[in-house]
């Protein structure tokens, strides 16, 4: 047996139109903690799904060797049987069941078809002791905090006699204390001989706990660094994560920037599910007419939460702070208020939150401001058709007519419909959340051109994006957000991927870069 418990060789995984992974190699040594780093969309989660059998053998190219044997997992059950267990970012616990029931879910301790509750609770108690969770096994999972739930997930993995534990962003939702405890636990598991693969955006945690780190970028494995032997710093990891050039992927644009259009002050938002958790903390930002401003942040930094809470309190509770439009404070309590005050928000998930997929282009474009096409409550549908046709030509929406159903359009064309819908509301401030996600390169260029045109027309545009090159290529100014705080503000000239990434991963900050 080799000293490598896992080897993944030349893994290539394609989705229609998108190559998510290309020739990725990953070797994990027995008993180490191996971190995987990369920007959002670099392919980390896809790689882990290939490994755990979520994408079954045959749906990808390449070879997986686990414990010296080639593996062809047909599903998650196969991989778990071999001792490969993945803990996803969104916890997969049933909140209404007890801790013990969750630990043995799908793996029940039973005798002749009946559950042996004594054994279940007894073994659960032992596992809880192992992960350092002082809770009674019959406690309902919804009664314990997220940090403790994460420990239950690990106990569940241990119950399956895990040999390779994969954790996807295990500390993203945890506070510092719970995170520290979790990292301690991982060290303890390592001492017991359990190998861990951890995906994390928190580079300080990786530096603290990982033995080696593999960096992914744009679906390729870039390098594997030894955190012990080499003198690897967080900066070294960052340069590996972002090290690509800006290509000529952005239309040229000369901004003409006017007065301030939009400002938020001391904006604070709490999570609706955990009311004591601050999701956005005292954020200040502003956008001027004709300006394209970026908002950079890693997953869980609070970008979407910030945008949605501003947009008519669509997210969060305990919201405080001020919104100013053209210098005047405005009160925005509903989405309607936001639209009335000329604010638009195009969601990051256009299929779930942006479009009525069973309806045609025309009706989607008019949906946010149907009143403008109506007299005394009656819609002029010919006028609606004319307006929609205008947008179809103007935005180059590729569809035979505006009567085509939006669910059948490609991602890029769907996004153009979403943009049309918000432009039709005559908004002055457009918040665009991941405007190019899931869109191919050609359509991206078109979307960038549209954004530039909006700015030229005097609109204030706030772009939220996970892709740093996109922000650098598009924006006149970029704010960074980390753990709910604005950690920096860089002008176009100051901003580089390295500086942004540093600010985005700062945890204890509040020191703007200038």
């Amino acid at each position: 047996m080799s000293d490598h418990i896992l080897r993944m060789r030349e893994i290539t995984k394609t989705f229609p139109g998108v190559r998510a992974l290309q020739d990725v190699n990953l070797s994990v040594r027995r008993g180490e903690i191996h971190a995987i780093c990369g920007e959002n969309g670099a392919g980390k989660s896809t790689l882990m799904k290939v490994l755990s059998g979520v994408y079954p053998h045959g749906s990808y190219d390449g070879e997986i060797t686990f414990d010296g044997e080639e593996c062809r997992f047909g599903g998650i059950r196969d991989s778990e049987q071999r001792g490969v267990v993945i803990i996803h970012q969104e916890l997969a616990l049933c909140p209404q069941l007890s801790i013990a029931e969750n630990i043995f879910l799908g793996n029940e301790r039973s005798r002749r078809g009946l559950i042996d509750w004594n054994r279940t609770n007894h073994e659960a108690a032992r596992l809880l002791e192992r992960v350092g969770l002082r809770e009674h096994p019959v406690t309902t999972v919804s009664d314990i905090g997220v940090g403790k739930q994460q420990l239950v997930e690990i106990a569940k993995a241990l119950a399956k006699e895990v040999r390779l534990l994969i954790l996807d962003e295990p500390t993203a939702a945890l506070n510092d204390e719970d995170s520290a405890h979790l990292l301690d636990l991982l060290r303890g598991l390592r001492a017991e001989g359990i190998t861990c693969v951890i995906i994390s955006h928190k580079l300080n945690e990786i530096a603290a706990v990982a033995d080696r780190v593999t960096i992914l970028r744009d679906g390729r494995s870039i390098e594997t660094l030894d955190m012990r032997a080499d003198d690897v710093t967080e900066d070294r990891i960052i340069s590996g994560m972002v090290g690509r050039d800006l290509e000529h992927r952005f239309p040229p644009h000369e901004p003409s920037i006017g007065e301030e259009a939009f400002r938020i002050e001391d904006w604070t938002v709490h999570s609706p599910t955990q009311r004591d958790r601050v999701v956005v903390s005292k954020a200040n930002l502003s956008v001027r007419h004709g300006e394209i401003v970026g908002l950079a942040g890693l997953m869980g930094a609070g970008r979407t939460e910030l945008a949605m809470s501003v947009f008519g309190r669509s997210y969060g509770v305990g919201i405080s702070g001020r919104v100013l439009r053209d210098g005047r404070p405005v009160e925005i309590r509903t989405v309607r208020d936001a639209i009335t005050h000329g604010i638009a928000y195009a969601t990051e998930d256009r299929k779930r939150y942006g479009l009525n997929l069973i309806e045609d282009i025309k009706r989607n474009i008019s949906a946010a401001d149907l009143g403008r096409l109506a007299k005394r409550g009656w819609v002029d549908d010919n006028e609606e058709f004319r307006v929609a046709e205008e947008y179809r030509r103007d935005m180059n929406i590729k569809a035979p007519s505006v009567l085509s159903v939006t669910g059948k359009l490609s991602g890029g064309n769907q996004q153009k419909v979403v943009l049309s819908k918000w432009i039709f509301t005559d908004a002055d401030v457009l918040i665009l959340d991941e405007p190019t996600r899931g869109i191919d390169v050609g359509a991206k260029y078109e979307i960038y051109s549209i954004i530039n045109r909006l700015a030229d027309a005097g609109k204030a545009v706030l772009v939220i994006s996970s892709e740093l090159p996109e922000l650098l290529g598009l924006c006149d100014r970029i704010y960074t957000l980390s753990a709910g705080r604005i950690t920096g503000e860089l002008s176009r000239h100051e901003a580089t991927q390295e500086r942004l990434m540093t600010l985005m991963t700062t945890l204890n900050s509040k020191d703007p870069a200038r």
Binding site: V18, Y353, N356, A367
Partner: protein, 415 residues
């Protein structure tokens, strides 16, 4: 919106090339099978039973019965389809029919309140019942299934409390005329050759209706052409108008030969026209589709979802009250078991008529057609002497087949 979707799930694959809804070519005419399937099915069922009953189905008296017997279900199905389009359901309408019928009876019979006032009060009571349910559903956030299941019990209990174990009647004549009666022969009869005498007034109304229908279709077509929208080619357009006119005229002539136009048919026609207009043209109607199609997107488009849902249930309550009065007037008494299982017929009518289980799809005319399909099956099978269990069996199969067809057509369109 308590959850934010994860940021690095693999991106959605590029979609298939753009295309319109699934169309099939029949006799050289392009048809949207998912939308027109219901009308074709209706025509086939009518022909089938016309043959099986040796034409008895289409006899003047039978057509008149068919309309009068099903009027209250059809009225309910108008309210029901709107609720189903918005992605909800209403199980309480049968009980609301009973309780509003009882209210009307108490007001008209026991208290002797003039019938127009009593009718108005009953409709308001229906609205209040709808508001009660709408509040729990829209503002309190309890699923409509539960609220209206509770309402089904509550309002049945209320009916029994009001009526005890007996019916109240008889109703004043005007109410009975509305439910059961016919227009007078205002301007006498006219001979129609072999068909015998027919009511001239009814015939004139029929001709006016056909003319109005043709004119409004023509104007819609002209306006669309003005905006360079795609329209049916002229021959197809004319064919559709002629077909619709033939059906209307046939029904009207048969009715004119029997006992003139049933008042409920007049009422029903007005309701269908008004609600069709609301669903296709009014901002309110369009918001119903937006809510049913994608609730989250509707919320984030600034649609006041709670308000819309609340008023949908108020509307359902008012229509149920109208159906309640008509049903009670037809039996000439309000009974404790009135309206039993009407909710199921109304829901079945909506789904047979092309509503989607997930919401967002459906038409008022579709629900009416769905209701008529069930009515024709009921009527036709009883004409040929089928026992009631067989009628139930066939209706069950038709409902299942209709929804299965819808699901199949959707899946086919997605490929």
């Amino acid at each position: 919106m308590s959850s934010i979707s994860p940021t690095d799930v693999p991106t959605a694959p590029a979609g298939p090339p753009p295309a319109g809804p699934a169309r099939t070519r029949v006799f050289g005419v392009s048809l949207n099978i998912r939308q027109s399937g219901i009308y074709i099915a209706f025509a086939l069922i009518v022909v089938l039973f016309a043959v099986l009953t040796d034409g008895a189905l289409l006899q003047p008296q039978n057509i008149s019965n068919l309309i009068v017997q099903n009027s209250y279900i059809l009225i309910l199905s108008i309210g029901m389809i709107l609720i189903i389009i918005a992605g909800h359901i209403d199980l309480s309408v049968g009980s609301v029919v009973a309780v509003t019928g009882a209210i009307a009876a108490v007001l008209m019979v026991d208290y002797g309140i003039p019938w127009p006032v009593a009718l108005l009060i009953t409709l308001v009571a229906g609205g209040v019942i709808g508001a009660w349910q709408g509040y729990w559903i829209a503002y309190f956030g309890i699923p409509a299934f539960i609220v209206t299941l509770a309402g089904m019990l509550l309002f049945r209990a209320l009916t029994l409390t009001v009526l005890g174990n007996q019916g109240i009647g008889p109703f004043p004549d005007p109410v009975r005329t509305l439910s059961n009666g016919f227009t007078d022969g205002y301007i006498g009869n006219i001979g129609l050759g072999a068909l015998g005498g027919a009511d001239l007034f009814s015939l004139i109304i029929g001709v006016v209706a056909v003319g109005g229908m043709a004119l409004s279709q023509w104007r819609t077509r002209t306006a669309r052409l003005g905006y360079r929208q795609a329209v049916d080619p002229l021959p197809v357009f004319l064919l559709k108008i002629v077909a619709a006119a033939a059906v209307i005229l046939f029904v009207v002539v048969q009715l004119a030969r029997f006992r003139n136009l049933p008042w409920v048919l007049v009422l029903l026609t007005l309701l269908v026209l008004a609600y069709s207009l609301v669903t296709t043209r009014a901002v309110f109607g369009r918001q119903i589709y937006a809510i049913g199609g994608n609730l989250q997107a509707a919320v984030l488009s600034g649609i006041k979802v709670k308000q819309v849902v609340f008023w949908l249930f108020v509307n359902m309550g008012v229509l149920a009250a109208l159906a309640g009065v008509i049903f009670a007037g037809r039996l000439n008494q309000a009974g404790p078991t009135a309206g039993n299982t009407f909710e199921l017929d109304a829901i079945a009518a909506a789904f047979i008529g092309g509503a989607a289980v997930q919401g967002g799809v459906g038409k008022v005319v579709g629900a009416i057609t769905g209701g008529l399909i069930m009515g024709v099956i009921n009527n036709g099978m009883s004409l040929i002497g089928s026992p009631s269990e067989r009628v139930m069996l066939v209706k069950g199969v038709v409902l299942l087949a209709a929804v299965a067809f819808d699901v199949w057509a959707k899946r086919r369109a997605a490929q």
